[in-house]
C-alpha cells in the first residue's frame, strides 16, 4: 500500500465519504501515532509487495476502510488521462510512462493534429472515396479515402480528380508538349486522351491517400 497519511485531508475525506469530520480527525490522529517508530509508510524504495501493519480500534474499523477506499477512488479522480480534443493528440518533449500524470504536462510542446498534417487549405479540401483498381500502381486501393485539395494548381505528374463524361475520376495528369492525358496506374487501362478544343475539367488535386487496415 503506497499511500501516505499526511497527504489525506480530513475535510476531503469527510466530503467524499459523508462521514463525521471529527471522527475522521480522530482516526487520523490514531493512525499518525501508530506510525511513530519502526517503519514509516512510503519510506525507502517502494516495492509492490511491501506491506505494513496498522492497529485501529475496532469501533473505527469501518471508517478507516472507507477512507482507504476513498483514497483509492481519489487516485482515479486525481489523475485523469488528458482528454484530447477530437483529432488532436498530445506530443511530449520526452518519453513519459503511460498512466503517470502531472510532471509531463509541463512538457507538452504542441498538439498533433492530423488535419494540420493532411489539410493545407481547409475550405478547399474535400474527401472522396476511390473505387475500382485503375490506380493501384499509385498505391490507391478500392475503398481508400482520398484527400483532395481544390486550391492547388494541377501540375504534370499530380494525381488529380478530373471530370470525364460527367463523372469524377482519379488519374495521373500528364502534360507533355502541350498534350494533356490522364494516365491510369494500371496497365489494364488505356490513357484518356484529349483532342484540341476538347475541354478537361480538373476537379482537384489528390494530396494524400488514407488506408485503414482491416482488423
Amino acid at each position: 500500500m503506497a499511500w501516505t497519511l499526511s497527504s489525506i485531508r480530513a475535510s476531503t475525506v469527510a466530503k467524499f465519504t459523508r462521514l463525521d469530520y471529527w471522527s475522521i480527525i480522530q482516526v487520523m490522529e490514531k493512525l499518525r501515532k501508530s506510525s511513530h517508530g519502526g517503519r514509516r509508510p512510503g519510506a525507502g524504495r517502494p516495492r509492490v509487495e511491501t506491506t505494513q501493519r496498522v492497529r485501529v480500534p475496532e469501533s473505527l474499523m469501518n471508517v478507516v476502510q472507507t477512507m482507504v477506499d476513498a483514497k483509492k477512488l481519489k487516485a482515479v479522480a486525481l489523475f485523469p488521462s488528458p482528454a484530447p480534443s477530437r483529432l488532436k493528440l498530445p506530443r511530449f518533449g520526452h518519453h513519459v510512462r503511460a498512466g503517470f500524470p502531472s510532471p509531463a504536462d509541463d512538457y507538452i510542446e504542441a498538439w498533433l493534429d492530423l488535419n494540420e498534417h493532411l489539410v493545407e487549405h481547409r475550405e478547399a479540401t474535400f474527401f472522396v472515396q476511390a473505387s475500382g483498381d485503375s490506380m493501384t500502381g499509385a498505391g490507391i486501393q478500392e475503398g481508400n479515402l482520398l484527400v483532395v485539395d481544390r486550391a492547388l494548381e494541377p501540375r504534370h505528374g499530380d494525381i488529380v480528380i478530373a471530370v470525364v463524361d460527367g463523372e469524377l475520376t482519379v488519374k495521373r495528369l500528364e502534360k507533355r508538349r502541350g498534350k494533356i492525358r490522364l494516365i491510369a496506374e494500371n496497365p489494364a487501362y488505356a490513357p484518356i486522351e484529349f483532342k484540341d478544343g476538347q475541354e478537361l475539367t480538373i476537379w482537384g488535386v489528390v494530396t494524400s491517400v488514407i488506408q485503414k487496415f482491416k482488423r
Binding site: R86, E123, A124, F126, S131, L145, R150, I161, L168, V170
Partner: protein
C-alpha cells in the same frame, strides 16, 4: 465607407453541380421541403420561364418536355458549402456580415486604395477555383447600392465578368443604368410596394432615387425614406457582423403524408421541439413560453379544415428539451381534434432571454433542469448526426416524415456518403 455584396449564382443548383457534373448545362431545379415548390433554378430553367416558388406539380408537363431535373433540397450540403464560401470571402475584408446562406456583405473601410474591380475578380476566381461555385460581386457606397450593383453584375448590365463597381461609373452612366432597372429590384421594395409606387409614377430605380424622400416617408414608411437615402449614396445601414440572438425560434414542417392520430402528432411535435431546443441552447438562451400549432391542408377545399395554436407558459424559463417538450405536448393535447387530416405542425419558443439570468422563484420547487444532460445530447447529435440521442416521444417509425424523393448524398459531411471516384 463602401460595401461589397457577394452572392452565389443559383446557389443550391451550383452546389449540386459541384458533386454531380452531369447536371452541368442541363435544366435543374431544387425543390423545397417535401418536394413542393421551386426554390432554386439553373439559368437553363430560368430561360424556360419557370418562376421562383412555383409548385412542382404544375411544372410536370414542362419538365417532361425539357427534361428538367428536380433535386430535393439538401440543406446539409448547402450549409457546408456556404460555410466554406463565407470563410473564403471573410479573408478579403476584416468586416463581414453574413446576410443569408448564399450572400454576404464585406465592409471596404481601409481598402479604398485597392483596385476594387481586380479585388472582386480575385475573390470571384478563388471561390470558383476552391469550391466550384460561381459568385457575383457588387460594390457600392451603401448596402442598397452594393446589392443593386450585384444585380447588375449578375445580369451583365454593367461592370465586367461578374463584378460591378458603381464607384467606377460616371454620374451620367449611373443615371442611365438606374433608369433601365425596374424599381422592384431595389432591396426592400416588394411587389405590393412596387404597385403603389407605380401609382406615383415611380417605376425605375432612378425615379425612386430622385423622388422626394420626405413625401415618401409620410406616404409609406421611414424604411423607404432610408432606402432613398441609400440610393443617393448616404449610408443608413451598417454592417451587422454579429447576428443578433433570435427573439423567437420556430421549428415547423409539413408532413410527408397526412397524419390523423394524436400519437403521430406528438412524435412530430417532439422532434420539432428537439430541434428548436437545440437552437435555443446554441444561442445560450432560455425560453419562457412554448407555442404549438397544427393545421390541415388549406389547399384541399374538399377536406374538413381545422387549424389551431396555443401558447403554454412555463413556470420558469428553461432550455431543457424534456421540459419544453412536456409543455408542448400538454398544449397539443388541448388542440388535437380527431377526424382531421393534419398536414403541418410546429412549435415556437417565445420569451427568449439569455441563459443564466433566470429569476429564481420564491415558493417553487427547484427546477429539474439537466443542463449537463442537454450538453451531452447536443454533442452526441453534433458528432453522430441529428436524432442520435433523442426523447422516446419522438418515436421510431416517423411515417409522417418529410418526402425527399431525389435527395443528393451528404457529399461533404458524412463518411458514408463521400463522392466515389473511379
Amino acid at each position: 465607407m463602401s460595401f461589397a455584396l457577394i452572392d452565389g449564382n443559383n446557389f443550391y443548383v451550383s452546389c449540386e453541380r459541384v458533386f454531380n457534373p452531369r447536371l452541368e448545362g442541363r435544366p435543374v431545379v431544387v425543390l423545397s421541403n417535401n418536394d413542393g415548390c421551386v426554390v432554386a433554378r439553373s439559368n437553363e430553367v430560368k430561360a424556360l420561364g419557370v418562376k421562383m416558388g412555383e409548385p412542382w406539380f404544375k411544372l410536370r408537363d414542362l419538365a417532361r418536355r425539357h427534361r428538367i431535373i428536380a433535386q430535393s433540397s439538401n440543406y446539409t450540403l448547402y450549409a457546408d458549402m456556404s460555410n466554406r464560401m463565407m470563410a473564403i470571402l471573410g479573408s478579403y475584408s476584416p468586416q463581414q456580415e453574413i446576410y443569408s446562406i448564399d450572400e454576404c456583405f464585406l465592409g471596404l473601410d481601409g481598402l479604398e486604395h485597392l483596385d476594387l474591380m481586380a479585388w472582386g475578380q480575385r475573390m470571384r476566381q478563388q471561390v470558383k477555383h476552391w469550391l466550384g461555385l460561381p459568385v457575383c460581386v457588387g460594390i457600392g457606397a451603401t448596402k442598397t447600392l452594393a446589392k443593386l450593383a450585384n444585380h447588375c453584375a449578375k445580369k451583365a448590365l454593367a461592370g465586367q465578368d461578374g463584378v460591378c463597381d458603381f464607384g467606377r461609373l460616371a454620374a451620367t452612366e449611373l443615371d442611365d443604368l438606374l433608369a433601365r432597372i425596374p424599381v422592384s429590384e431595389v432591396w426592400g421594395v416588394g411587389r405590393k410596394l412596387t404597385g403603389k409606387l407605380a401609382a406615383r409614377n415611380i417605376t425605375t430605380v432612378l425615379d425612386l432615387r430622385d423622388a422626394d424622400a420626405r413625401t415618401l416617408r409620410d406616404a409609406f414608411s421611414v424604411m423607404l425614406e432610408r432606402t432613398v437615402q441609400e440610393l443617393r449614396g448616404t449610408s443608413c445601414m451598417e454592417l451587422e457582423e454579429l447576428a443578433p440572438a433570435k427573439k423567437q425560434i420556430v421549428s415547423s414542417r409539413a408532413f410527408g403524408a397526412y397524419v390523423h392520430t394524436l400519437i403521430e402528432l406528438e412524435e412530430a411535435v417532439s422532434l420539432y421541439m428537439a430541434r428548436a431546443a437545440e437552437k435555443l441552447r446554441h444561442q445560450h438562451s432560455v425560453a419562457g413560453a412554448v407555442q404549438v400549432f397544427i393545421r390541415t391542408n388549406p389547399f384541399k377545399d374538399d377536406h374538413p379544415q381545422y387549424q389551431a395554436g396555443v401558447t403554454v407558459p412555463l413556470p420558469s424559463p428553461t432550455a431543457d428539451t424534456r421540459r419544453l417538450t412536456h409543455a408542448a405536448l400538454i398544449g397539443l393535447k388541448h388542440l388535437f381534434k380527431p377526424g382531421y387530416a393534419y398536414q403541418k405542425a410546429g412549435v415556437m419558443l417565445m420569451e427568449l432571454r439569455e441563459a443564466g439570468h433566470e429569476q429564481g422563484m420564491l415558493f417553487a420547487e427547484p427546477v429539474p433542469d439537466r443542463p449537463r444532460l442537454m450538453d451531452v445530447i447536443d454533442r452526441a447529435n453534433e458528432r453522430w448526426g441529428h436524432g442520435t440521442l433523442r426523447l422516446a416521444s419522438e418515436g421510431v417509425d416517423k411515417a409522417w416524415h418529410m418526402k425527399r424523393g431525389n435527395l443528393s448524398p451528404a457529399w461533404t459531411t458524412n463518411w458514408n456518403e463521400l463522392p466515389q471516384v473511379r
